[in-house]
């Protein structure tokens, strides 16, 4: 079994590989187009001479793969290693992985502007072609080296795991042997060969992919040895925490730190931009000092924001049809379809703010050099290169002066993408001239939640005399994540369309005339990417409304969808499979009901059925069982896909039934798990998952199924009660309000 090592890569030569006592290091160069740098990048810390290495082979046969993805439990560090190992035909038992240095031009994800980031269930689908081509080039070089050694044509060779074989002469040579004799020789090419995609392995030839493979990160996670950023121990460390502004954007105006400074162990109180830092010799002293602070904050317009009133405004905006918003999809002639419709259906849906509730509270450790222009950072982040570049910008230095040490992430779900901890830790580390471990309290983590935005929706369907859906309108109202998390300019550059908020609002239903629009609201709330991003509510809206349309015509919701998806064979396959598995259409116990949903999320096809019951007195919904069928294309590690999907059901059910951040006077009202409850073991359903791999490029898994859970619940509740549940969460209070109990 492999293991994870840290930061083993040094500076490499300009050539395509490095021959050293460590063995052979393949520093693979990329096509020029992939060198495009993110706009945020500062001066290049990776000069042409300092290229990164994906693969290092030791003479003893050990293979170390540089895997740039953050590991937060989604399993893609193992998955990507499997892809590399498969294509270079490495012996998996000799494979270990390491984090590469911050060199996005080498290790960046092509679908995210070549940044080293891990989000959007995008690691496998983003790196899929890139790493396979790299690995195939490595295999080619190894084979060529053997061919030269044996003086035989390359075409007569093939590979077995970590072995080049010449069948005609019954000879073989291990990758380790080649790494050994290649040292100091000139047998290797000066540049890596370019491999054509058509030469890549086919699904039928896989030895590693498609088989259950234990995740490389798991052994350390059963005995406490896995290291998260919060665990880092650095000599001479001091501890810090912060009291942050209760309203997003506020700044400390008056800081009364007298009581805090009297707490034994507290060293310093440092006013920061939007918070006040307390630095102490121990974390317990820092936390105590924080409680003793008395700070008044500047007033900001968001002070007056109340989410309950805001929701009414959002929904009113959704209904204000003369405000067209920004068009996202304009297909056919929608106005004409509605003008000629025999029947029009209209509904309003909504979703509240939700919090990530990642188990590891936000934290980071940093040390700033004496000149103030260099830093070492210990962090678990989904945004490796953005954090490194942001640190360089803050210290007005170049990225090569920033050493970023990546750790495991105690939950990410989008929360750990931004570089929002650096504006606190870097000034503190600079002020102290000692390494500072900054840990937010859980309460601070909740109060400063960066939430999935609250949204209001209006959906409309035009039906002709035969009940055929001829027109579809969907208006999505909410604050912009792109503008908050990025910049106003970024939203402008995207023509005002927030692709995070709008994610999942497109669908595969064959409706000729469609309009989907974004109507932006601005309230100054911290809104962010949250597992599933826009699909988390947009699929709830679409799948519930499709169910409404089917029911209004007394059509079976599954049959109705199959009709609308007649040109989508992969969608049809997962729908039919899950309907069959769940006994859809057969009578179930009167007190239980099944609800159905289908969606394509992060390019994976998913269908789901949930079995629900309701305690009408308390309004508590109980989910008994979920059935899911998934086609993500090629399945790399089936058990890992099952694990992710189980997690999606539970996370999804949690947000469906329980989760809501409310805001009053601009302030988050919740504090901790006692008033922001998440799903517990006693509330988990049975989960039955059918994987339906197809020979298509591997797509996303980490958040593919989550958006399907809420519509399953809402659609099942409709069957049970005859009432529509159009607001998330479907909390007991809401259930009682809707059912009138």
């Amino acid at each position: 079994m492999g293991k994870i090592e840290r930061n083993t890569n040094g500076t490499l030569s300009r050539r395509g590989f490095l021959q050293s006592s460590a063995g052979l290091t393949f520093a693979l160069t990329l096509p020029t187009a992939l060198f495009a740098r993110p706009a945020a990048a500062l001066a290049d810390n990776a000069t042409a001479a300092a290229v990164g290495a994906w693969v290092t082979i030791s003479p003893d046969g050990a293979v170390v793969l540089a895997i740039p993805v953050a590991e937060m439990g989604q399993g893609s560090s193992t998955g990507l290693a499997m892809v590399l190992a498969e294509e270079m035909d490495a012996d998996w038992s000799r494979v270990s992985i390491t984090y590469p240095p911050v060199k996005p031009e080498i290790f960046g994800n092509p679908i995210f502007g070549n940044m080293m980031v891990t989000y959007g269930s995008g690691s496998i689908r983003g790196y899929w072609d890139k790493v396979r081509l790299q690995a195939a080039a490595v295999r080619n070089v190894l084979m060529q080296a053997a061919a030269d050694r044996w003086q035989v044509p390359l075409g007569e060779l093939h590979t077995e795991p970590s072995l080049v074989v010449h069948a005609a002469s019954n000879r073989s040579m291990s990758y380790g042997e080649i790494a050994g004799f290649a040292q100091g020789s000139t047998i290797m090419p000066a540049a890596m060969p370019v491999i054509d995609k058509s030469a890549l392995k086919k699904m039928a030839d896989y030895r590693i992919l498609g088989k259950n493979t234990p995740r490389l990160d798991i052994p350390g996670k059963i005995d406490g040895s896995a290291l998260y950023a919060i665990d880092v121990q650095v000599p001479n460390i001091v501890y810090a925490t912060v009291l942050r502004t209760p309203v997003e954007g506020g700044t400390p105006e008056h800081v009364d730190d007298a009581a805090a400074l009297k707490v034994p162990g507290v060293l310093k109180v440092v006013p920061l931009k939007n918070s006040v830092g307390v630095v102490a010799e121990t974390i317990e002293a820092a936390f105590k000092g924080r409680s003793a602070l008395n700070v008044s904050w500047s007033s900001v317009p968001t002070d007056s924001f109340d989410s309950a009133a805001g929701m009414k405004e959002f929904l009113a905006h959704a209904a204000k049809l003369d405000d067209k918003g920004v068009s996202y999809v304009a297909k056919g002639n929608v106005d004409d379809a509605f003008a000629k419709a025999a029947k029009v259906m209209t509904a309003q849906y909504s979703s509240e703010y939700v919090y990530h509730a990642q188990m590891e509270p936000m934290n980071v450790t940093a040390s700033v050099g004496p000149g103030g222009d260099s830093a070492e950072i210990w962090i678990g982040t989904q945004g490796v290169s953005p954090n490194a570049f942001a640190a360089a910008a803050m210290l007005k230095t170049t990225p090569d002066k920033i050493k970023l040490n990546q750790f495991y992430l105690g939950g990410g779900y989008g929360r750990r993408s931004p570089a929002d901890m650096l504006p606190e830790v870097l000034p503190l580390a600079k002020a102290m001239q000692r390494p500072v471990k900054l840990i937010w309290t859980r309460e601070q983590d909740v109060k400063s939640a960066q939430m999935r935005p609250m949204t209001g929706h209006q959906v409309e369907a035009a039906l002709d005399a035969d009940g055929k859906v001829t027109g579809w309108r969907h208006r999505v109202v909410g604050e912009s994540v792109v503008a908050y998390r990025g910049t106003e300019k970024a939203l402008e550059n995207n023509k005002g369309l927030d692709n995070i908020v709008l994610e999942g609002s497109k669908h595969e239903y064959g409706i000729a005339n469609q309009s989907i629009a974004y109507l932006r609201e601005q309230r100054g709330i911290a809104v962010a990417a949250w597992r599933g991003i826009g699909a988390g509510y947009n699929k709830f809206v679409i799948e519930s409304f499709i169910d409404e349309i089917a029911n209004a015509q007394n059509k079976d919701p599954v049959a109705f969808r199959l009709e609308l998806l007649k040109d989508e064979p992969r969608a049809q396959a997962v729908i039919k499979a899950v309907a069959d598995k769940s006994g859809w259409g057969k009578a179930s116990a009167a007190v239980h009901a099944l609800g159905f949903s289908y969606a394509k999320v992060v390019e994976t096809y998913v269908a789901a059925v949930g079995e629900i019951s309701l305690d009408t007195k308390t309004g508590i919904v109980r989910a008994h069982r979920f059935w899911l069928a998934l086609d993500p294309g090629i399945v790399l590690n089936p058990d890992s896909v099952l694990a992710q999907t189980e997690g999606n059901v539970i996370f999804g059910l949690s947000q469906t039934l329980k989760e809501q951040v409310s805001i009053s006077g601009g302030q988050v009202q919740q504090n901790n798990f006692y008033d922001y409850p998440v799903l517990r073991m006693s509330e988990m359903p049975e989960i039955d998952i059918q994987l339906m791999p197809t020979d298509n490029p591997a797509k996303g898994i980490g958040e593919a199924s989550l958006p399907l859970i809420a519509p399953c619940v809402g659609n099942a509740l409709f069957k049970l009660t005859g009432k529509r549940f159009r607001a998330l969460p479907i909390s007991p209070e809401r259930v009682k309000a809707v059912t009138g109990v």
């Binding site: 121990q233 990642q358 997690g647 901790n672 988990m684």
Partner: protein, 152 residues
């Protein structure tokens, strides 16, 4: 004033305020970082350790309370990460992000030490105070059942 107690069968002496949560003593004074900070309010179970064999939330235990007592953390649960629960956790690939798992395993270990043959309901009741945000509950449940069967 130094407070002395036993951690993972070894004597420990720490110089910390008597009210300091055991959690921070274990993590930052003794550098046993397998025990995690989750909520600081006894609501999530990430900080679960054994105090004289019973599962407790170390964030809620002032260190003065453990003077003379025996604390076991995830690092001390077994010599070679081979407690039946750890083996079951590995076999069933339970952890995802993994952050809550030390607490989950310590909570489960206290159950199996007291009840060799827990029913499914026993397990769910006993584990219900431990949050796993990633949603590994189905595998935790199966792993506890498997470990019980194999005689934890």
């Amino acid at each position: 004033m130094a407070i002395t107690f036993t951690v993972n069968n070894k004597p420990a002496s720490v110089d910390a305020g008597p009210e300091t949560p055991l959690l921070w003593v274990v993590r930052e004074h003794l550098k046993l970082t397998g025990t995690k900070y989750g909520c600081g309010a006894g609501m999530c179970g990430a900080c679960t350790v054994h105090l004289d064999g019973k599962a407790v939330r170390s964030c809620q235990i002032p260190v003065a309370m453990v003077a003379g007592k025996s604390v076991t953390t995830i690092e001390g649960l077994s010599a070679n990460s081979d407690h039946p629960l750890q083996k079951a956790w590995l076999d069933l690939q339970v952890p995802q992000c993994g952050y809550c798992q030390s607490g989950q395993i310590m909570q489960a270990a206290a159950l199996l030490a007291a009840n060799k043959n827990p029913s499914r309901d026993d397990i769910v009741r006993h584990m219900d105070g431990n949050i796993c945000r990633c949603g590994t509950y189905p595998r935790i449940l199966r792993a506890v059942e498997r470990a019980a069967k194999q005689g934890a």
